[in-house]
Amino acid sequence: MTYVRPNFRHPESHRNAAGYSIKQYEGALSTLCAGCGHDSISAAIIKSCFDLNLAPHKIAKISGIGCSSKTPTYFLGKAHGFNSVHGRMPSVTTGANMANKDLLYLGVSGDGDSASIGLGQFAHVIRRQLNMVYIVMNNGCYGLTKGQDSATADQGSAGKRGVASVFDSIDLCQMALQLGAGLVARCFSGDKKQLIPIIKAAIKQRGFAFIDVISPCVTFNNTPTSTKGYEWVRDHLEASGTIDFIPDKTEITVDYPPGSSRAVTLHDGSQLHLQKNAQDYDLASRKAAMNRIETVKEKHKILTGLIYHNPDATDTHEKIQTVDTALNALSQDQLCPGSEVLAELNAQLR
């Protein structure tokens, strides 16, 4: 019976610059269905954090409810975690982030969790530009409750039950753009070459970074008639180009022919290098990005890759001007002005 993952790892797989082995970024053995796209995203998160030399204990992973929201159990076992209530990941993350802004916040949600019950929370966390990575594992259905259509199911798409959705779908990338996310991307769980550099960029982005990852539900929504199945997605991908994540400008080893690529510089100086389609549109323009999504959609294709990037993005703390020190690191006398100040205040009101 294989409920345990063997403890041996490849003897030649190395430790990263922070001294951690890949095992220290793994979590428990997944209990999701075999072949679920969500597991691939977990693997991509593990690889990204390993490559970025992040300290696992400096990460907080927060989720709602759903198969997607279960995944934090399966990665970063040494990180902080909170598996919250359906659709409430954003508010729990906001609270945690307010208390300790020094952690990396990795929010994991599903299309049901974010586009249905949690849509209000989704909107407001973006509007506040909370410093976090928000990943939606988007399978177009409620996987955990046996595959009912979610709000991202495309009109006409039919899963295992065989009944096509009659409603138009919510495009979470378009919403994120409209609500002011600093980084917006769409990926496919089956394309780690693209997914990993984008997760890395999202981690490096200051403020709110949103990734909508199409992630097939093999059990309930992987039919030929579903627009979120492996086959359909593979046949309809329109990638915005090959992507490299370059942690440090000095390490650029590839020679990009002029005009064939462009670089997006992230908050800490690391870069995303996008090859091909370099002249498509201005990545820093919301209008152009909206346009691009719609144009590709009209061709019945799915636009993937980095869709929008705001190099000047800020975050909630900056907007509300909190002190530099994380609030949880302040002592009581720093946080509480004391009874004398209160008495003075009260006196003013008398």
Binding site: M1, T2, H10, E12, D39, S40, S189, G190
Partner: protein, 595 residues
């Protein structure tokens, strides 16, 4: 790369590292699982079928399987394959009813075996059940060859050897013991249909030109002759101070025997650095455990005698010097060391020699005065004469002698049926899915974290006091079980079906050792570079699928696969399956059955 042809038995055979490395290709993981299941008789018979002397080999095998064992590549140490074999032998009940039946009606063919060591005995084992009449000639009083005369009783109890030799002799082999063959011609004149020469490498090297060799002769012994004299109880004691020359396994047996025969200051003296000693690491360990010191870089210069009696040896102290090409020479430091001694045992190598084979009877001899023997058929240029074991190409070990015996038996049987001996029979192979249910497999997929278990030993004092007391006690049930659980079941193969794969990457993600890659096809060299973890072990193959829908291929580096089955469990479409690959090399009997 082209898609891997898994219908070629060699592909999966190579994945079973231990079995592939074993000269007689014992299905190791199969017997290890049977031991874990407590099915000792079954485990024993799998061994008996392929290596003929499980009880002997479970104690003494040179274990080429262990350095090859996959576990050694992911863990500190390999599975204790050899000592697990002993668990099967120690715990079995009477297995005689499982031995092959010997036909009453003979097939009319007569074969002579010269020498009664493991090579000849294996030929007998394979041919007796086919109805051959067999005569065995040996100059010792009992069968077993060097297993009897050389391997000391504290490593191999005589009862164990007798039992396994007798399984074969009791098949009706006609033995001519105490009979040295002095002429092959005279044997050939007896009109045998075939003759097998398994006379071993019985001549120990000497240092005939070293000063003092003659004068001190009474106390200077050839190691293998001395060991035989001890085994046959002609010698019962040795002087207090003993020098053992040589760094091979024979030297280890000599020194350990010497301390059991009264040696108090027994030293092993080697010419080269310790790190170059030929002895197996475990044999050196055993000698060191018995507090026998090893002196390195001492080149023998002279035997010192006083009044015609050996009193010591003079050594030239050398040091290894390497030239630009890394070639080593031992250069004298000018220092001389004299070691007093009562006896010297020379264990500096052995040779095969054939003074008793006439050079004019049609057997071709090469420039080194050795008979020409075909590497696959073991046939000489005289078609009815076959040579195997140490006699063929010099000293090896028991398991190699057995492997030679099996192949020679096939050749002899073919020769006796006027078939082409070069046309070698294919092995029997079988590939069966191990899937029972969602998380259920017919084998134990759990990978134990245990370090290699150590075989318990007798109390050192008691062991040294009694030459015949077996030093190793062997694993008990529970140690044997725990050690068996360390085996990774490398014979349970990961089998991939391209058409079923939907490229969800689940297998790639779950694999704990990053074996699996979905990648653009390329040449082997490039693929090896481009895998998630570079495939640097060139002895291990890459398993390449057909082209997938996305035009990529699945490439699996077999190197450190744990055979944990997770890839197959995580595959939603059953594109991966775990299938048990059981390979039995062909034998004379399996070849005859197919005819």
């Amino acid at each position: 790369m082209k898609p891997t042809d898994i219908s070629d038995p060699d592909y999966f055979h190579k994945v079973v590292d231990c079995q592939y490395a074993c000269p007689s290709h014992t299905p190791v993981p199969e017997y290890i699982r049977l031991i874990a299941a407590g099915r000792f008789n079954d485990a024993y018979m799998i061994n008996w079928q392929s290596n003929v002397f499980p009880g002997v080999l479970g104690r003494t095998c040179d274990r080429p399987c262990e350095p090859a064992c996959r576990r050694g590549r992911v863990d500190e140490e390999p599975v204790a394959i050899c000592r697990l074999k002993r668990v099967a032998a120690d715990n079995k009940t009477d297995i005689r009813d499982r031995l092959p039946e010997i036909p009453k009606q003979k097939n009319g063919k007569k074969v002579a075996l010269i020498g009664g060591g493991p090579a000849s005995l294996t030929v007998a084992r394979d041919l007796m059940p086919l109805g051959y009449d067999i005569d065995l000639y040996d100059d010792q009083h009992k069968g077993g060859g060097f297993m009897r005369s050389q391997i000391p009783a504290f490593r191999l109890p005589e009862t164990v050897l007798d039992e396994e030799v007798n399984y074969i002799l009791d098949m009706g082999v006609v033995t001519h013991f105490n009979q040295e063959v002095t002429s092959l011609k005279s044997i050939l004149e007896k009109k045998y249909d075939a003759v097998f020469v398994g006379t071993g490498a019985p001549r120990g090297r000497d240092l005939p030109d070293l000063p003092g060799r003659k004068e001190g002769g009474a106390n200077i012994h050839i190691g293998i002759n001395w060991l035989a004299s001890v085994a046959f109880e002609h010698i019962h004691k040795i002087g207090k101070k003993v020098l053992v020359l040589g760094g091979g396994n024979t030297a280890m047996d000599c020194c350990r025997t010497a301390i059991r025969l009264g040696g108090e200051d027994v030293r092993v003296v080697v010419r080269s650095p310790k790190s170059d000693m030929k002895a197996s690491p475990w044999e050196i360990e055993d000698a060191v455990h018995e507090d026998i010191p090893i002196y390195e870089n001492h080149n023998p210069k002279a035997f010192i005698t006083e009044q015609g009696r050996l009193v010591g040896m003079l050594f030239d102290v050398v040091e290894p010097v390497f030239d630009d090409k890394g070639k080593r020479t031992l250069v004298s430091t000018g220092e001389e060391v004299m070691m007093p001694c009562d006896d010297v045992l020379m264990a500096i190598g052995q040779l095969n020699s054939f003074p008793w084979i006439e050079r004019d009877i049609g057997i071709e001899f090469n420039d080194w005065d050795m008979p020409e023997v075909d590497k696959t058929t073991f046939q000489t240029s005289l078609p009815q004469v076959f040579i195997g074991g140490d006699a063929a190409w010099g000293p090896e070990n028991v398991i190699t002698a057995v492997a030679h015996g099996h192949q020679a038996a096939i050749s002899i049987d073919k020769h006796c049926h006027s078939e082409d001996v070069l046309d070698r029979p294919a092995p029997d192979v079988n590939l069966v899915s191990q899937k029972m249910g969602f998380h259920d497999w017919l084998y134990d997929v759990h990978v134990s974290d245990d370090a290699r278990h150590i075989v318990p030993l007798q109390d050192k004092k008691a062991a040294i006091a009694d030459r015949k007391l077996e030093v190793e006690k062997g694993f008990d049930f529970s140690q044997g079980y725990e050690e068996a659980m360390r085996c990774l079941n490398c014979d349970v193969q990961t089998v991939f079906e391209t058409d079923r794969c939907i490229e969800c990457d689940a297998c790639e993600d779950i694999c704990p050792v990053d074996c699996i890659n979905f990648i653009d096809n390329n040449t082997e060299d490039n693929l090896r570079e481009q895998l998630k973890v570079k495939a640097t072990n060139l002895d291990q193959d890459l398993y390449v699928s057909d082209t997938l829908k996305t035009k990529r291929v699945m490439v699996k580096d077999e190197n450190v696969c744990l055979h944990c089955g997770l890839c197959a469990e995580r595959c939603p479409t059953g594109a991966w399956d775990m299938k048990k690959f059981l390979l039995h090399t062909a034998t004379a009997a399996s070849n005859r059955r197919k005819k």
